[in-house]
């Protein structure tokens, strides 16, 4: 028996809170892994904590390569909040099954698709974690699945935000 992994979705469940987690876990996490690159420093990442601390890494081969740390302003934090909160509106629980079903009906392959990881933690709410092969590629292959288009759009918006703030 064999399983091909094309999508991993991690969904958080509510459990008793720990104060330390609230301090240390970023509210927003974005990571795009360039799977084609063999060395470890192969991803673009963003982490933002509740107190406004922000950290970004662009890999050495990126046009905006570097490690950025700063305190983001309330307006920027609100922008990210508006973007990440859209994860709540998506039916992520059923996405894996829909992708598997569509792939069973369509002979399509995507090689070397990047991996995307998103995490969103709201106060008093469940954490949402998503990890999947790049939705920008898969939504072109499986256009019937609207969640992929939404994730692709969200990914691009967050990446644009990162590029604007990499200064």
């Amino acid at each position: 028996m064999r399983i091909t992994f094309i999508l991993l979705i991690l969904l958080g469940l509510s459990t008793p809170a720990l104060a330390q987690d609230a301090i240390e876990d970023p509210v927003f996490v974005f990571q795009r892994v360039n799977v084609l690159v063999a060395h470890h420093d192969n991803n673009f990442s963003l982490r933002v904590w509740r107190d406004g601390r922000a950290e970004m890494r662009f890999p050495p081969y990126a046009a905006q390569a570097g490690h950025y740390r700063w305190q983001i302003d309330p307006h920027s934090q609100a922008e990210l909040e508006a973007q990440f909160s859209r994860l709540d509106e998506l039916d992520l629980g059923g996405l894996a099954a829909r992708m598997a079903r569509q792939r069973g009906e369509t002979l399509v392959e995507i090689s070397d698709a990047d991996w995307l990881r998103l995490e969103y933690r709201q106060s008093g709410r469940d954490a949402v974690k998503v990890m999947l092969e790049s939705p920008d590629a898969w939504h072109r292959a499986l256009p019937e699945i609207t969640e992929l288009a939404s994730l692709a759009e969200l990914q691009t918006e967050i990446f644009d935000w990162m590029q604007r703030n990499a200064r």
Binding site: R2, I3, L10, V37, S111
Partner: protein
């Protein structure tokens, strides 16, 4: 808030035939048919010249920079003239923070004409060193068995892979991915581990560390996933050419018969109606998307191919500016007998 996690894993297909032989062609893994051979666009089972057009998309970024690399990769795949030592780890043409556009494109075009990664690669869900093991399907234990064996080098003939089901074609009785034979068909290549030489426990793949362990020049299959800054791989390794030649033996898998074809990629300039379209845009480094259609239960052909390379506004690409001529291919690659 403490968070507990549920992991949902998508089984695309969960059944395979463990008795079938295997092959590292694109679709073989997802179709869980190790015996599947995938051919380029347009192949119907009739022999002759198989022309496949390759274009730069009309809405692509960096069109002027792309034209020479695109023409060069077409020339290289058409020549099917592999070298031993195709990998330059520290090419002085490139700065230390650059990635070679032409090398990545050569890899992606290989996917779009039917080839898969010889290594497990990212589609396995693995990363780092584990992704460098030879391509296989999970066996009955539903897990990859990863052990580099007595030599401690991943991807070699000593790997211990438990019940993993091999997908890699190898020279019968030899198991050497760094050779280039005169006859490449089902009479000389197999995926059945019973055809391995005595003492070999798994298929050896054309990985860089494997070549180094063998004392060979720096060499790696173009289709092996994993590029590095300042690295160039602009010529085929023998394993790449072998796999295309295996497909060219046609549906009967016998070289020299009427259904054999010769693959000819044709550059179509900037247009959107080609068999394979290349576009530079967006924040992904590079990928190939293909559609497919079955010719019979063990043969499939590509029906569409789209390559997307990352935007030059996101990545520090190095665009080669030296157009390769056919004569240079011949001079470079046939001076030494293969």
């Amino acid at each position: 808030m403490k968070t507990a996690l549920i992991l949902l894993i998508v089984p695309i297909t969960t059944l395979i035939s463990l008795s079938a032989p295997a092959g590292v062609f694109i679709f073989a893994e997802s179709q869980t048919n190790p015996n599947l051979i995938t051919h380029p666009t347009g192949y119907t089972g009739s022999g002759g010249t198989l022309e496949v057009s390759v274009c730069i998309a009309s809405d692509s970024e960096s069109v002027a920079d792309m034209e020479i690399p695109v023409q060069n990769v077409i020339t290289v795949w058409n020549a099917l003239a592999p070298v031993l030592g195709n990998t330059n780890l520290n090419d002085p043409q490139l700065a230390s923070n650059q990635i070679d556009y032409e090398s990545v494109l050569l890899h992606e075009l290989g996917h779009c004409i039917g080839l898969a990664h010889p290594n497990l690669a990212s589609e396995s869900g693995l990363s780092g060193n584990n992704a460098r093991y030879a391509k296989a399907l999970r066996g009955p234990n539903n897990a990859f068995d990863l052990n580099s064996g007595s030599d401690g080098v991943i991807g070699t003939r000593t790997d211990q892979r438990g019940d993993d089901v091999n997908l890699g074609w190898f020279r019968i009785g030899v198991n050497d991915p760094f050779i280039f034979e005169s006859v490449i068909d089902a009479s000389t290549y197999s995926t059945d581990l019973n055809d391995l030489p005595g003492g070999h426990s798994f298929v050896e793949i054309a990985g860089l560390q494997v070549a180094q362990q063998r004392g060979l020049p720096n060499d790696e299959a173009i289709l092996h996933q994993g590029t590095r800054s300042r690295e160039t791989q602009r010529e085929l390794a023998r394993d790449d050419a072998t796999m295309i030649r295996l497909g060219m033996a046609g549906l009967d898998r016998t070289q020299g018969t009427g259904d054999d074809y010769t693959l000819v990629l044709q550059y179509g300039g900037q247009a959107d109606n080609c068999d394979i379209t290349i576009r530079t845009e967006g924040e992904g480094l590079g990928l190939c998307q293909v559609g497919g259609q079955f010719l019979n239960s063990n043969h499939l052909r590509i029906t569409s191919g789209e390559i997307t390379m990352g935007s030059a506004g996101v990545f520090n690409w190095f665009f080669n500016t030296e157009l390769l001529g056919d004569a240079e291919i011949f001079a470079d690659r046939f001076e030494s007998p293969q």
